[in-house]
């Protein structure tokens, strides 16, 4: 996870590589050409002394050596003599009186105008060659006792002669050789003293100022010297803001030695001497995915310090990232399932994660803070995935439930429809063998189960009772109410009396069973088959048409009353009309008169009269009804019927 996060911080570095705006550091590289010209490495210390003098002549601010010299120089005259047993003994004695190369190098160091800083490498184990602590420049600590500043038990440095001459040391450590260099120890304890990184110590030696390390808040260390300031993590290491490798930082050792560098190249610069020859050095990989000589890492640290560029990761950052995770997760859990479309949910996710990433970039570039939006985003993305899968499953389940519900409801409505249709009598069976009258009826239900019905039956030998009715409203309530009204009407009719009284009686009963406050229009008739006298009562229903042989259809006069269940205790009057033999009567519901064509016109009463007038003389009721139904259908011209269509025709043939 750490590596993953570090990789993400590398990504920041790659987006915003630090431009090189100032050049406080010059690197003297001991590289291929210098080795070719001046001999193989390690050079005799006399040559190093020459190099120091050559650089010092350019009046640098300070010189730092990113090299250490732990062993005595084997080219010192005495050592050379020891390696050549055949030479004369006075020669040996003479050579022994000559100063060692190390002494010459030490002298070059101590007599240089600019301070010279030697590199030391902090080691986890004590090295017997370097039992004594190296001399350090003064460091003051303020409020840092609780900080876990890195301490090395031992170190590898240079010969005591050289150390004593330089008096100043800087840490050469710049991270493990194989990994990408992101953090490097800026301050660490070695033995009894505290040391800054080589670059920083060289800069400070040049400025000749004390160094203060204090609690910088947020678990960070603040390092001040002169007007320079750096920020380190609690352990003394610091994140480096990297820029690209730049050849302008470099001159070669050879050029420096033979005076081929431009005048003033070293003037007031921090000069770092390092080995950059390919065969011998430690190359580092930076977050910018470049190989840099280790010495250039130190140079970049100095550039960071001089330019006031810091990069740090305060202790609170992991908590900020956790908060990001919680916030994003909360957003996703609460709002993604409520988003009206998948695209809004996705926009929320992209927006949330995008904001976190943008915040990370802004904090990096403008505040030098390392904030990792990646882990919270991945976490929140995981939450999003879970929520998405959950809400998909939920909506799938809801869809299935709806489908099942719809199917069940459709099944129930179908059943209601079948039951409703089953309640209607078939006049052909009811009046089979009845010659005095012919009756035909039809009920075409609309798509939704409706509340039309008709009924017809004999009361005794002479009286034919019929009724056509329409319950206001649709659906199951209307269908159930219709069944109740039909049975109440039948029982009211069978109790005898005038037709109006039958309706009044039925209304009294129905009112008790009408929680939905539905009402029913009804036309009821009672035909005396012996005399052709028709008693009828109308409860708010469309009056029927009658047509005598060779006459025109005429609407029956319509005294009567309101629909059943509209006005309590209304007493329905009975009217009388006498049929002539061969005369027929046709009762319809508003499924006929209010049938609508695509132009939203009604079939209407007049059209009904006209249609009935066109029916051939002597057509039996069954044909009459079929023709009328066809006329209504033709008029509707494919428009869906809004209501049930009920037609009942009755023809009195005479006694």
């Amino acid at each position: 996870m750490q590596r993953f996060q570090a990789g993400f911080f590398d990504f920041y570095q790659r987006i915003f590589p630090l431009p090189r705006t100032t050049a406080p550091v010059i690197i003297v590289g001991i590289e291929e050409n210098s080795l070719r010209e001046l001999g193989q490495w390690p050079w005799p210390r006399t040559r190093m002394a020459d190099l120091i003098r050559a650089i010092d002549a350019g009046k640098p601010l300070a010189i730092g050596l990113d090299v250490f010299f732990p062993e005595p120089d084997r080219f010192s005259p005495a050592n050379v003599a020891a390696q050549l047993p055949v030479i004369a003994s006075e020669t040996v004695r003479f050579l022994a009186t000559l100063p060692t190369n190390d002494a010459i190098f030490a002298e070059a160091i101590s007599t240089a105008g600019a301070p010279v800083v030697l590199g030391i490498s902090g080691e986890e184990d004590e090295d017997v060659r370097f039992a004594n602590s190296p001399s350090s420049q003064p460091v003051r600590f303020i409020g840092t006792q609780d900080f876990p500043i890195k301490a090395y038990k031992g170190y590898i440095g240079s010969l005591a002669t050289l150390s004593a001459a330089a008096k100043r040391h800087g840490l050469m450590n710049s991270g493990s050789p194989s990994a990408v260099v992101r953090r490097t120890p800026l301050i660490a304890k070695v033995g009894e003293g505290y040391f800054g990184s080589l670059g920083m110590e060289t800069l400070r030696a040049g400025m000749d100022v004390p160094l203060t390390v204090r609690d910088g808040g947020g678990g960070l260390l603040e390092i001040d010297f002169g007007d320079a300031r750096a920020v380190a993590q609690g352990d003394g290491s610091a994140w480096i803001r990297f820029g690209h490798h730049d050849d302008a930082r470099f001159v070669t050792a050879y050029e420096a030695m033979v005076g081929k560098v431009t005048p003033d190249t070293f003037k007031d610069k921090v000069v770092l001497v390092g080995i950059t020859g390919l065969g011998i050095l430690d190359y580092k990989t930076t977050p910018l995915a470049e190989f840099l000589p280790g010495v250039e890492v130190h140079a970049q640290i100095v550039e960071n310090i001089v330019n006031g560029v810091t990069l740090s990761r305060p202790r609170i950052m992991p908590r900020v990232e956790a908060l990001t995770l919680i916030t994003l997760g909360f957003l996703f859990i609460v709002f993604v399932p409520r988003a009206r479309g998948a695209q809004y949910g996705l926009a929320l996710v992209v927006g949330g994660v995008g904001t976190a990433f943008a915040a990370g970039l802004v904090l990096f570039q403008f505040f030098g803070l390392l904030y990792d939006p990646m882990l919270p985003s991945l976490g929140a993305g995981f939450v999003f995935g879970v929520v998405l899968v959950g809400s998909l499953a939920t909506s799938e389940r809801q869809r299935r439930q709806l489908r099942e519900q719809a199917a069940r409801l459709a099944g129930e409505l179908d059943a209601a429809r079948r039951i409703q249709m089953g309640l209607l009598p078939d006049p052909r069976e009811t009046f089979a063998g009845e010659r005095r009258a012919d009756v035909a009826a039809l009920l075409e239900p609309a798509r939704t189960v409706g509340g039309d019905f008709y009924d017809c039956f004999m009361i005794g030998e002479r009286q034919l009772f019929f009724v056509v009715a329409d319950v206001s409203g649709k659906g199951l309530p209307a269908a159930l109410f219709m069944a109740s009204v039909k049975s109440q009407l039948k029982s009211a009719a069978l109790r005898g009396g005038e037709v109006g009284a039958m309706l009044t009686r039925a209304q009294d009963e129905i009112e008790h069973e009408n929680p939905e406050q539905l009402f029913v229009t009804a036309f009821a008739g009672l035909l005396d088959l012996q005399t052709g006298v028709l008693q009828y009562a109308n409860a708010g229903h469309e009056p029927p048409y009658a047509r005598r042989p060779s006459g025109a259809p005429e609407r029956l006069p319509h005294p009567g009353g309101p629909p059943l269940c509209v006005v309590d205790d209304f007493a329905f009057p009975t009217s009388t009309y006498t049929l002539v033999p061969g005369e027929w009567l046709c009762v319809v519901t508003d499924g006929a008169t209010e049938a609508m064509n695509p132009q939203r016109e009604f079939f209407g009463v007049e059209r009904l009269g006209t249609a009935l007038g066109w029916i051939p003389e002597g057509a039996p009721p069954e044909e009459l009804i079929r023709r009328l139904r066809d006329d209504v259908r033709k008029f509707a011209d494919g428009a869906e019927a809004p209501d049930d269509l009920t037609l009942l025709a009755l023809k009195w043939n005479g006694n």
Binding site: F519, G561, F602
Partner: protein, 124 residues
């Protein structure tokens, strides 16, 4: 369907236009009930001006009936005026004059329900 209220003293004239059927019934009743209590308290009436009403289905009639019953429980009075021929015929066949008093025009309806309202109507 649209319902436009106009107030004359203690009476409210609601102009109903369009079609009254199953789909528009609830809107109509909500609008009507806003005024029932007020006019009942002021001793006035609600006049339904049906000049713009093209058509009433049986569900629409039931809507009228329910409105009338609801108004009655609140001691409100509703009358109708200016019925178009088609609506007038529906009212006639279904004898809804037993449910609402029917007037040929809004003026007559106001005259029959409240002198104040008529005065206000005449002034405008």
């Amino acid at each position: 369907m649209t319902v436009t209220p106009r107030r004359y003293a203690n009476a409210v004239v609601l102009s109903v236009a369009g079609r009254l059927d199953q789909d528009t019934c609830d809107d109509f009743r909500v609008e009507l009930m806003k005024h029932v209590e007020q006019t009942a308290r002021d001793g006035g009436a609600i006049v339904l001006d049906l000049e713009g009403l093209e058509y009433v289905s049986s569900a629409g009639l039931r809507c009228f009936m329910l409105a009338s019953r609801q108004a009655k429980t609140q001691h409100g009075r509703i009358v109708v005026a200016s019925l178009q021929s088609m609506v007038a015929e529906i009212f006639e066949i279904s004898h809804f004059n037993l449910v609402f008093q029917v007037f040929p025009a809004v003026r007559e309806a106001l005259a029959a329900t409240s002198a104040d309202a008529l005065a206000a109507f005449e002034k405008k």
